[in-house]
């Protein structure tokens, strides 16, 4: 099982991530009264980027982006996609750290480009990360404390037995907090401060072209996938769907349908993000930080206190 997951789950994540990128462009277009690009447009973009002759600002410029993409793929291995989960070592803590490495790689690469637009973008990226990390850590700690485990797989498995976390009264507040910070994790408006094209010329990727851009796009796709998948895994019970898969338990079909259910749930969550994305302008970075440190943090803090007190 693990061996299969090792090969299959990055593939699923990549395809689904690109699909989500395409879908988000299509849906945004429809909200804006447009027809929108074909849903496979991001794939064409990636192929185009690969076919272009990029520039490099030195070895480190290349190293950062490779590090970023490969660690994003490593991250996928730690994520239960449906019933697939290749690696479990380190649990959610290692997951959190690995989640950091993708942006960190891009930050290294962007800074090696010696472009202040990139540097400002990275500074915003880290500040935004710090801002949403506060409620996110509280949320994850609440979940880990509640289920008394640091393993993601176990969290999903417990939910399979005892119902979705989002449905249980103790974890509803963290769930809401996660939904509130989801646009920030995905880098969507109103938190699209990092690659603010009209302000700092698309920020960290200002100097990326050709294969560097292609790598970045893939990394971004994976990032979107991870951001949503984490929510689905932690709060919406991963592959579970009210015992629908119980009759199939143990067969290959359970795995396949599990993945399908998982992806459907992710699409649903993505839609919520897209509708928020469509009707809000960009925050200024300090406004974003103030917002994230106000409501989501408060809600998740209350959630954590409730969980600690009822423990």
């Amino acid at each position: 099982m693990n061996i299969i997951a090792l090969f299959v789950s990055p593939l699923i994540a990549l395809i689904a991530g690109m699909f989500f990128l395409g879908l988000s462009r299509k849906i945004s277009a429809r909200i804006q009264w447009r027809y929108g690009p074909p849903i496979y447009q991001p794939v064409i973009d990636v192929i185009r980027s690969f076919s272009q002759k990029s520039i490099t600002h030195g070895k480190f410029f290349d190293f950062g982006i490779i590090l970023s993409l490969s660690s994003s793929f490593v991250l996928i291995l730690f994520l239960p996609i449906g019933k697939l989960c290749a690696l479990t070592s380190g649990g959610l803590i290692a997951f959190l750290y690995l989640m950091l490495m993708g942006p960190f790689g891009i930050a290294l690469s962007g800074a090696a480009a010696a472009n202040p637009n990139s540097s400002i973008g990275i500074s915003r990226k880290f500040l935004l990360a710090l801002a949403y990390e506060v409620p996110l850590l509280l949320v994850l700690l609440t979940v880990m404390t509640h289920y008394h485990t640091i393993s993601l797989v176990e969290i999903v498995n417990i939910q399979a037995n005892s119902g979705w976390a989002f449905g249980s009264w103790a974890l509803i507040l963290p769930g809401i907090a996660y939904l509130l910070i989801l646009p920030a994790i995905l880098g969507m408006r109103p938190f699209e401060v990092v690659g603010a094209a009209q302000e700092i010329s698309s920020g960290p990727i200002a100097e990326f072209g050709g294969k560097h851009l292609a790598f970045y796009t893939l990394q971004h796709a994976l990032h979107v996938f991870v951001g949503i998948a984490l929510f689905v895994d932690i709060f919406l019970g991963g592959w579970t769907f009210f015992g629908l898969l119980n009759p199939l338990a143990g067969t290959v079909w359970a795995v396949i349908f599990g993945i399908i259910i998982f992806l459907l749930k992710m699409t649903l969550v993505l839609f919520i993000g897209l509708f928020v994305n469509a009707v809000y302008p960009r925050f200024r970075i300090e406004q974003a930080m103030q917002y994230l440190w106000k409501w989501p943090t408060l809600i998740s803090f209350v959630g954590l206190i409730i969980v600690v007190l009822t423990k």
Partner: protein, 184 residues
Amino acid sequence: MDRNQIGKWLKNPGKMANKYSFHVVYFCTGCGIIEVPPSITTRWDAERFGIIPVATPRQANLFLITGYVSTKTLAAIIRTYEQMPEPKYTVAFGSCPINGGMYYDSYNTITSLDKYIPVDGYIAGCMPRPEAIFIGVTHLWKLIDMDKADGYKRYREDYVHYRANQEQILGELDWPPLFSKENL
């Protein structure tokens, strides 16, 4: 996607992807830019053909020269063009870049653009309507298919001459040549 194109896709994915994913460098070089926002928004929606504006030339492969080019802009255009990764295409808008248009006697606008950077296609008119942009783009597709949109290759081959022309107008350029001997 057209089913007839699958063969082409398999044969040369890079070329096909370049055709269907024009990332336009957003540079209002002249008044023609006024028709770019309509063409990328609701009414004409260029994104259905994969055309979207991007922030920096590094990510782009299509350069729309939207109108007349003053000498001050010419420097910026050359710089931007040189920063675009290959393959890259240039489409000039309106009559001004062709021969100076109505500014044929202006002391600050150049008369024909293709003396300074290679231009792959022209969209005539002042201004060209948004439909004309799409016709221009479809024409560019044909040119790419026929491998005739080779401006970047010409630029590489004749870089010495292009550079000489640029320097004749702009004086000493404050950036080193794009193609040194080993780069060619």
